[in-house]
């Protein structure tokens, strides 16, 4: 699974279509991925596990969210 996520991260172009947010309003998409990244990091740190899978959420929220919203 960690191998798959690494390949997936290497092949990352931009945030893919997310069927949870199919319409024009992508605000929730940005919010959800931002939340998922921070929760993932926290959870992995608590378990002492590799946080590489969390990078997917990071890349997606970086693609979608304006810098001023997340800095």
């Amino acid at each position: 699974m960690a191998e798959d996520i690494k390949t997936k991260l290497e092949r990352y172009k931009t945030a893919p279509f997310d069927s949870r947010f199919p319409n024009q309003n992508q605000t929730r998409n940005c919010w959800q991925n931002y939340l998922d990244f921070h929760r993932c990091e926290k959870a992995m740190a608590a378990k002492g596990a590799d946080a590489t899978p969390c990078q997917w959420y990071y890349r997606v929220y970086k693609s979608l969210c304006p810098t001023s919203w997340v800095s």
């Binding site: 605000t27 940005c30 969210c65």
Partner: protein, 227 residues
């Protein structure tokens, strides 16, 4: 950009705009046909050639109910087809954020490195020969041609709207909301647009310029700016 005294659409530079132009031609033809018919009947009536003693006209009533219904369906079908087509998002190659401010745009390319820049209108006094008044900007939005591009439009202060007529794109920029739109440019070129939501004193002076270029040149440009 539009030429002086231009009345019609600009030439389409994206597949969606091509569809919109075709639909517009179709709808205009329907409107022309109906107007011609009405004008003809009006002329006949004014020349008193349409007087009648009829009090009961079930057959003609049926015809001029069914026929308009058919005409409406002929308008609705292509309209809905294009509406759904506009909402389709093939996997985009690139996501760019366009953020409206009073009175300029900021563009962010953050898929890989963080590339952010502001895009201000070139003042009339600083135009170079060949430049277009009130349309040129200091930093254009450069994109690779023939690639699906996702644009996320938002605003920092008041309402704005990001519009490019030749690409068939117009998306409102609303503070606190991320509006998604997408397009593919069918050819390289420079495409102009203007802010399309009243946003204060300089609403007319915050244009949008998209430069569509082959991928190699786009990559060279973005490497140059990211460094």
């Amino acid at each position: 950009m539009a030429n002086p005294t231009q009345l019609g659409f600009q030439d389409a530079s994206s597949p969606i705009m091509e569809e919109l132009v075709e639909f517009h031609d179709h709808a205009l033809m329907v409107a022309l046909a109906i107007c011609s018919l009405v004008l003809y009947l009006l002329t006949l009536m004014l020349m008193e050639k349409l007087s009648s003693n009829t009090v009961d006209a079930q057959e003609v009533e049926l015809i001029w109910t069914i026929l308009p219904a058919i005409v409406l369906v002929l308008l609705a079908l292509p309209s809905l087809q294009i509406l759904y087509m506009m909402d389709e998002l093939d996997e985009p190659d690139l996501t760019i954020k366009a953020i409206g401010h009073q009175w300029y745009w900021t563009y962010e390319y953050t898929d890989f490195k963080d590339l952010t820049f502001d895009s201000y209108m070139v003042p009339t006094t600083e135009l170079l020969p060949g430049h277009f008044r009130l349309l040129e900007v200091d930093h254009r939005l450069v994109i690779p041609m023939e690639s699906p591009i996702r644009i996320i439009v938002t605003a920092d202060d008041v309402l704005h709207s990001w519009a490019i007529p030749t690409l068939g794109v117009k998306t409102d920029a609303i503070p606190g909301r991320l509006n998604q739109t997408s397009f593919i440019t069918t050819r390289p070129g420079i495409f102009y647009g203007q802010c399309s939501e009243i946003c204060g004193a300089n609403h007319s002076y915050m244009p949008i310029v998209v430069e569509s270029t082959p991928l190699i040149h786009f990559e060279a440009w973005s490497s140059l700016l990211s460094s």
